[in-house]
Symmetry: none
């Protein structure tokens, strides 16, 4: 039994006045999705919980069966895993921007002129050694990079150095603990008692101190780097400062294959999604031409899906463009990407037993951000109790046989349909 | 964005043979509610959980987004807050009845002849001082009063002195702990370990002792009070004993405004509902003419709602009469109050962006008490994914686009529609 899970990021929407109160999904011509709805079972799904607007990282954790409230502390670990860093549970990871500061340490460009090809800079930064932790630093796409701290007595509970504004100085990183009552339990720092809280304060203080030292050393290394001297000569803003944010602790995720007894692969362009799948122990494929944007090469991704099918039972295909269209408030682009995704589905219909289509969250074009509205989901394949739903959309799915489910329940439902569930009890 | 949440207490019902197996909501003429259903999204809601018959206090806690299993230990705190006592988390609060005992300490009237105007009695009782706790005592409506204990090492886990029957003596108050396994976590007594259990036993024993002493002193003060001597002269039963019951510990509720980033107001007559809203940090309005009964002045309440709209984003309008009609088994009164509520809705339609209508629980006229049947809910406002539901009722709502939700999810869903939710993740 083989299953394809298609996740169109942010595809779901709200009633749009300009579409006569319909949604892009209701307007788009999507014969394949509708065909799957006719022979499948539909429902609506709260990826995390009703009223909770999910990020793409927390949503994908939930969609792979992990409770984000237990495993998520920040985006850093998922960015770092998506960037190909081999993480260990307990590592502390951050998102980093190459930025430009002037002589007075004022940030003049948070993205260092959207610099490209920063690998030589990363190599120089990687040479920095500090007592107390191992530092792993890697450039990702454009002005972006990722930083991992490995060692004992470290914490993700530190503030950002990124002020998220130009014309300001980078912020000093400080220990940043939620009050004891508001603690989000996370591996391995399960909230528990004052002693643990004191320990955590100490760890956070140590981590903040290390990161401030690292920032200073990195600034010294970067401002003298030949690549930056060259940029300055050409009138380009030098990438002479690293802005740090989004710290999180790498969770221990019980591997997908161990949990569900099937091998899973992920075909995605978005680093956060790749990171989640990687930390779940899935095979993560790099697809040339997959841009994570509306102009992505969907045929290349389809080919990669069929490639992975050979030695995996489960393939997750993630399409980012629908979310981008939502964030841009572009109704037409959203309809178009839905239609383009639909057009590649027919090559999957004979190849897979089960095809599941859903979104990780709603990104209404009228809101331009993620909202908590439930997403539609359809499961098509042998044995499913088909319902009266004849089309794939938010409203149609709400009448489906699945009712209203949670994101973390989706994979267990599919695994059971695939005949791979284990009985609880006798 | 402004939201009005109308809660008709106990409005939902079951199939009634005398109404050709319809419900009062299905029979009532309610054009405004139906109009909102047509342009809104409907669903059914388990205020607490399926099969759990809610009280008005626990239901309103859940409807404001608080888990009653974490915050509720008894009605006392909500009565006391509703009576205007300025409570602190950790205070122990009780519901009190003025009662009549004879010379042999036998209760001859649990309500002291439904005495009114007990303020002078309360003032005398308030003078009682005991070592070990501060006592705050206040009369509320009729024969009712409320008692709060403030201090260290106190507990709500004590039995009632009210035997709930006349012809008996008041009961001695005893420490009354649930077994360690059955402990309901409550601030600040989070279940934890044998040591804590031993501590709690000690606290409960101390509290019980204090309450017994207080009861004795109050009896002495009351029996000699001029107001009671006067009553005896007039052949009226003296209010010479305080029956104590419904102890609970005041929970720490994270303020509504802090949690949801909007200012909330409550327009209600029922003390319990006012108490819940007050402890949630909402503005609680006293409306002259709002009686908490079927004959309540709904227009005065509507006026108060529109008044609060000016500097609040969220107004909760609570109508008690529908519950009273249910408890009385009065079908006609229930239909009537529904129709009366409907008639005030049109003045809200232009004033608010979102209007939500629901009940806190079902009070079937055939049962005359609260039941666990889910309640109908409709959310009307910009962007909602309208469904095919054309009328507001228990059965129609069950086919709506919201599916079946929980009470504690309602406000987060509404907050998200108002554009005030915060993303969990990146």
């Amino acid at each position: 039994m083989k299953t394809l899970l298609i996740i169109c990021d942010g595809m779901a929407d709200r009633s749009i006045p300009a579409l006569a109160y319909k949604t892009p999904l209701e307007i788009a011509k999507k014969p394949n999705m509708d065909w799957l709805a006719k022979r499948g079972i539909s429902g609506i799904m709260d990826t995390i919980a009703p009223g909770v607007a999910p990020g793409s990282d927390t949503a994908h954790l939930a969609l792979l069966g992990y409770d984000p409230y237990e495993t998520y502390t920040g985006r850093g670990p998922f960015e770092a895993a998506g960037a190909g860093i081999d993480l260990r549970p307990g590592d502390i990871a951050f998102r980093v921007n190459y930025a430009t500061v002037d002589k007075n340490m004022i940030i003049t460009d948070r993205r260092a002129g959207r610099i490209q090809d920063t690998k030589p800079l990363a190599e120089a930064v990687q040479k920095i050694k500090l007592k107390g932790a191992e530092f792993i630093f890697r450039s990702t796409v454009g002005h972006r990079a990722t930083l991992v701290l490995r060692g004992k007595g470290l914490s993700h509970e530190v503030s950002d150095s990124d002020p998220h504004e130009e014309g300001k100085k980078p912020l000093k990183i400080e220990p940043f603990l939620q009050s004891q009552e508001e603690v989000v339990p996370a591996y391995p720092i399960i909230a528990g008692g004052v002693r643990k809280y004191v320990m955590r304060r100490r760890w956070a203080a140590k981590t903040a101190k290390l990161l401030n030292e690292f920032s200073q050393k990195a600034h010294e290394v970067l401002k003298k780097h030949p690549l930056n001297l060259e940029r300055a000569k050409n009138g380009l803003p030098p990438a002479n400062y690293l802005l740090i944010r989004g710290g999180g602790i790498v969770p221990h995720l019980r591997p997908f294959q161990e949990r569900f007894r099937i091998k899973g692969a992920c075909v995605a362009a978005a680093a956060l999604v790749k990171g989640v799948c990687k930390l779940a122990g899935m095979t993560v494929v790099d697809v040339p031409g997959a841009t994570g944007s509306v102009n992505t090469d969907l045929n290349a991704k389809a080919k990669a899906v069929l490639q992975q099918l050979k030695d995996h039972d489960f393939v997750l295909l993630h399409v980012k463009g629908s979310d981008e269209a939502g964030h841009d408030g572009n109704i037409r682009a959203k309809i178009e990407i839905i239609e383009r995704v639909d057009s590649i589905i027919n090559q999957f219909i004979d190849a897979f037993d089960f095809i599941v289509i859903t979104a990780d969250h709603t990104t209404p074009v009228g809101v331009k951000n993620h909202t908590a509205d439930p997403v539609p989901v359809v499961i098509s394949g042998p044995g499913v109790r088909t319902d009266d739903v004849k089309t794939f959309s938010e409203r149609a799915a709400a009448k489906g046989g699945l009712g209203r489910i949670r994101g973390k329940d989706l994979i267990p439902i599919v695994i059971d349909l695939m005949g791979k569930s284990t009985k609880f009890g006798a």
